[in-house]
């Protein structure tokens, strides 16, 4: 498997320089479209995995996650000339993904969630465990709790789900989340707190034993 982080570290400075140069050219509308596309492709290749993982958490299955990632990148490319470089590309992409996801949920009016089996419900997706040190028991409990957590996420409103995922899975600061979600820090604070309480309530009801074992492990 490719070491993605190393690759990212190697390419980041070059990409940043290229990025500044291309935007300097493209702002007068005479910039070469082909180079801009090459830059976008590079950013897309770097960020698509993390985007996919978030999309999977948002949608609950591989097929919808792929659709959401694709739709988000298509929209991102369409408005790439408006991308503000002061914002990390991933934050900008998540802003687009948030809107695409909320649009999609509202269109269908009801979010479908599917059961997650180990290694992905449809076999098309695999897990990549976080690399921090954790006891094997705790890792096993986390895997056990993954499905109930995903169901709890699926039962929330898309705004609450996105706020919790950006804070807890992506590790974003509240201000950054507020920027991504186009809302105030106070609203983000409220959504995260209420969202977490909903997840805990769901776990206490649907997986009490595994959840208690997990909390005892800490």
């Amino acid at each position: 498997m490719r070491n993605f982080d190393d690759e990212q570290n190697r390419t980041t400075p070059r990409i940043k320089g290229l990025h500044v140069m291309l935007f300097a050219i493209s702002k007068d509308n005479t910039g070469p479209r082909v180079d801009e596309a090459a830059l976008f492709e590079s950013l897309m290749r770097k960020s698509h995995r993390q985007a996919y993982s978030l999309a999977y958490r948002l949608t609950g299955n591989a097929s919808e996650a792929e659709d959401l990632v694709q739709e988000s990148f298509v929209r991102a490319f369409r408005f790439f000339s408006k991308y503000d470089q002061s914002m990390p590309f991933s934050s900008w992409l998540y802003r687009i993904m948030t809107n695409a996801h909320i649009d999609s949920v509202r269109r269908r009016s009801k979010l479908k969630t599917t059961s997650l089996e180990q290694g992905g419900s449809d076999g098309a997706t695999s897990w990549e465990l976080p690399d921090y040190e954790a006891s094997p028991d705790r890792m096993m409990l986390q895997e056990t709790l993954d499905e109930p957590v995903q169901k709890a996420l699926g039962s929330m409103t898309p705004e609450f789900r996105m706020a919790v995922l950006l804070a807890d899975v992506e590790g974003m600061a509240y201000e950054e989340i507020a920027e991504v979600m186009h809302t105030s820090v106070g609203t983000v604070r409220s959504r995260i707190h209420r969202g977490r309480k909903q997840i805990r309530k769901h776990l206490m009801k649907n997986a009490p034993q595994a959840y208690r074992s997990f909390t005892d492990e800490l």
């Binding site: 792929e66 897990w127 895997e143 604070r189 805990r200």
Partner: protein
């Protein structure tokens, strides 16, 4: 701060998102309230659980499929944008509008002059008829202006 207001702030407190004063107030309350401490511990565990959830990885070949799909859509858009040269199209449209306006003006002018000729012709015809009548009444041939009638002199020689 009472228990209710502290519990609203607990998630932000755990995330390090409270300002100094709020943070101190929550900490003070927690030091003396076992219920709120228990609640804080629950939320802390949940945060650990969510933070440690595994990342999902896309299926094999997704990256290339994604790049291909996004870029193909873009190329189609670019080709459209290139073929339809907007500045040229705008120029052609402007010239067409000007030409149409010019044609309209010319047509309008000729129409108006045609319209004015008709009453003028009618007027000339009327004047001619009146002239002919006057000539006839005066005993002159309206066409040749020769006298065709002689009036009696009543025996004067």
């Amino acid at each position: 701060m009472n228990c209710k207001s502290v519990q609203i702030y607990l998630s932000a407190y755990l995330d390090g998102e409270l300002c100094g004063q709020e943070c101190l107030q929550v900490r003070d309350h927690l030091s003396g309230c076992s219920d709120c401490r228990a609640e804080e511990q629950h939320l802390r565990s949940l945060k650990h659980l969510l933070r440690g959830l595994p990342n999902y990885r896309p299926s094999e070949g997704f990256e290339d499929r994604l790049v291909s799909t996004v870029m193909n859509r873009t190329e189609r858009k670019s080709i459209f944008a290139f073929n339809l040269n907007w500045s040229m199209a705008a120029g052609v449209a402007a010239v067409s509008v000007l030409a149409a306006f010019g044609v309209f003006r010319l047509t309008d002018r000729s129409m108006s002059s045609a319209g004015s000729a008709e009453p003028s012709a009618r007027l000339n015809e009327l004047e001619r008829d009146i002239y002919h009548d006057q000539m006839f009444m005066a005993g002159n041939d309206p066409l040749s202006s020769n006298r065709f009638a002689s009036f009696p002199t009543h025996g004067k020689n």
